[in-house]
């Protein structure tokens, strides 16, 4: 549990590992291979790595063209420049023809840190969720990242994967971890409320659970690694069994995991849901920990929201 590995590190390692297993895997980057860690793959398989220069739109559509020839391209950049700048290329040249392109977006969220708001993507879940047929994944640790990359390779269709820059705790054990696309994982039990989280916020949710426990509140924690398609069955189960939901994501509260959960519950089982995320604001430069504090991505904030959600129960 003491190990800390950034999910982008695990992404690069997974590409290099699966490059040997899947010969039609190719990787593209837009001059950020050192940061996205696709450089690890490039070193192992130089003939299967294509740097596209700082031209994300072109990279995405080139990947679309490559996929039509039977290759499985992973196109990588920072989340901001992939989901953001290349949104329309993703929508029209990957999503609309439902091509087998994988989008490996690193540096998602506020934990980008010192580079500041221009590089801290807090909108990618929202953008990607709106594209029909797009699968959206945000793994919570290195073990889940590795498994998610292989699941993306085996899935026929477009997949958006979001990884983080900062080193974060390894929560799972590689030996007994199983990743199922579209199936969340109950990582800790509890019946008073459920915290449904993704990415770096899963670990924060586990800390919140400890805080709550000291106050006699038992909160369940769900690792919702697949944001689309959302695991409806698990969301409904949590709502039925706990009656109070808090979502936690490193993303604007608008359009992301929280609203995906609200969408399920408002239509099928109206239940109090409170959302933790950035409150419709841009980020700023700073170290990771004080940024998380400033934007409310903390165990304390989640714990407060859990208590408020419980108070809303009928």
């Amino acid at each position: 549990m003491a190990d800390k590995i950034a999910t982008r590190e695990a992404y690069g390692a997974a590409l290099a590992e699966f490059g040997a297993k899947y010969e039609n895997l190719v990787v593209l980057d837009a001059d950020l291979a050192g940061a996205t860690k696709t450089g690890v793959f490039a070193k192992a398989f130089p003939e299967r790595f294509f740097d596209c220069g700082i031209a994300e739109g072109d990279m995405v559509t080139v990947a679309a063209g490559l996929s039509t020839t039977g290759l499985i391209p992973f196109a990588s950049s920072f989340a901001m420049f992939l989901a953001g700048r290349a949104f329309e290329q993703i929508r029209n040249s990957v999503g609309y023809p439902h091509l087998n392109v994988k989008l490996g977006a690193t540096h998602g969220g506020i934990t980008v840190g010192e580079d500041g708001a221009t590089h801290q993507c807090l909108e990618d879940f929202a953008l990607m969720r709106t594209i029909p047929g797009m699968t959206v994944i945000c793994p919570c640790d290195a073990v889940e990242t590795r498994a998610a990359v292989e699941a993306a390779i085996l899935h026929d269709g477009p997949v958006y994967l979001r990884f983080g820059r900062a080193a974060t705790p390894v929560l799972f054990n590689k030996e007994n971890y199983e990743f199922k696309l579209g199936k969340g994982i109950e990582i800790a039990d509890g019946d008073d409320a459920a915290i449904i989280a993704c990415g770096v916020m899963v670990d924060v949710a586990l800390s919140a659970r400890e805080l709550l426990k000291s106050e006699g509140i038992n909160a369940r924690v769900i690792d919702m690694h697949t944001i689309k398609p959302i695991d409806e069955e698990l969301v409904l189960k949590c709502a039925k069994e706990t009656g109070a939901i808090v979502t936690a994501e490193e993303h604007n509260v608008i359009g992301g995991l929280g609203e995906a959960v609200c969408g399920v519950l408002s239509e099928k089982l109206p239940t109090p849901v409170l959302r933790v995320g950035t409150e419709d604001t841009f980020g700023r430069s700073g170290k990771v920990a004080p940024l998380m504090e400033m934007y409310g991505l903390t165990p304390q904030n989640i714990a407060e929201k859990v208590k408020a959600a419980i108070a809303l129960k009928k």
Partner: protein
């Protein structure tokens, strides 16, 4: 080229033009001007050059074509139908809610369409990906794409231009349909792209400028492109927007407008005169 063969191609291209006008008339919408200007090169590609199988549209070793200027879909559909990819009767359903012939090309539902396109500037990048895929897998097929001269203003075109020269995609041949007109008027006035030949040359391309309605010139230019090694080729085709229909020729108003019944009859009479 053999003059008898040129005559055959001219005849096919004239049929394609009739089908373009019929599609746009049937749909009461569409883009006739820029479809008519590429009827000759598309006819040449599908009837003289490209290695494709109408009964096996996804054959993996086929030559590929990407209509980067996707709004000229009526030209592509007319050629694909003439080639036998789908029944010609489908053409009158163009843009109809029950048809697979979408306003802009849809690779998922239209036999023979190699890439969905329509949002300008993207098709050339997709063609680059196909050409790179061919090289990476040691395949001999070639990739063709047609850009509009207004489309050239999209930044992505130049990202792709750099990419294809960088990766020495000599299996890629791109045409620019330089008809000089776009929706808002003359390309020179809307956003001047001159000197286009020098721009592509500066990006490291093999550049040729031809008359896009002359089959001999098309034939020679493509042969030159095939012989050129180590760099992608662009063939800038000077063309007439609305070519073959008297009242549509060189008129930006026919970029995205459909003829009424009277105009349709006139257009078909103009084209019949060329048979």
């Amino acid at each position: 080229m053999d003059t008898a063969r040129v005559d055959q191609l001219k005849k096919i291209a004239n049929g394609v033009r009739k089908d373009i006008v019929t599609q746009v008339y049937s749909a009461s919408s569409g883009h006739p001007g820029g479809s008519l200007s590429i009827a000759d090169v598309l006819t040449y590609l599908y009837f003289e050059k490209m290695n494709v199988k109408a009964d096996d549209p996804k054959w993996e070793d086929r030559d590929r074509f990407v209509l980067s200027k996707g709004h000229a879909s009526p030209a592509l559909y007319a050629v694909l139908a003439a080639k036998g990819f789908f029944p010609k009767e489908e053409l009158v359903k163009f843009r109809n809610i029950e048809s697979f012939l979408q306003g802009h090309p849809d690779m998922k539902h239209t036999p023979g369409v190699d890439m969905s396109s329509g949002s300008l500037g993207m098709g050339i990048s997709a063609a680059c990906g196909m050409a790179l895929g061919a090289k990476h897998q040691g395949k001999a097929y070639r990739v063709y794409s047609i850009l509009g001269d207004g489309e050239i203003a999209e930044g992505q075109v130049w990202e792709a231009a750099m990419f294809s020269a960088h990766y020495k995609l000599d299996n890629l041949c791109v045409f620019v349909d330089r008809n000089g007109l776009q929706i808002d008027g003359e390309t020179k006035k809307v956003m001047n792209s001159d000197p286009l030949d020098e721009k592509f040359a500066a990006f490291g391309w093999n550049v040729q400028v031809i008359n896009g309605h002359d089959f001999d010139q098309i034939d020679k230019a493509i042969a030159n492109a095939e012989a050129c090694k180590g760099k992608p080729s662009v063939i800038i085709m000077d063309t007439v927007k609305g070519k073959g229909v008297s009242f549509m020729e060189n008129n930006a108003g026919w970029h995205g407008a459909a003829p009424n019944a009277e105009q349709y009859a006139q257009a078909m009479a103009d084209l019949a005169a060329n048979d």
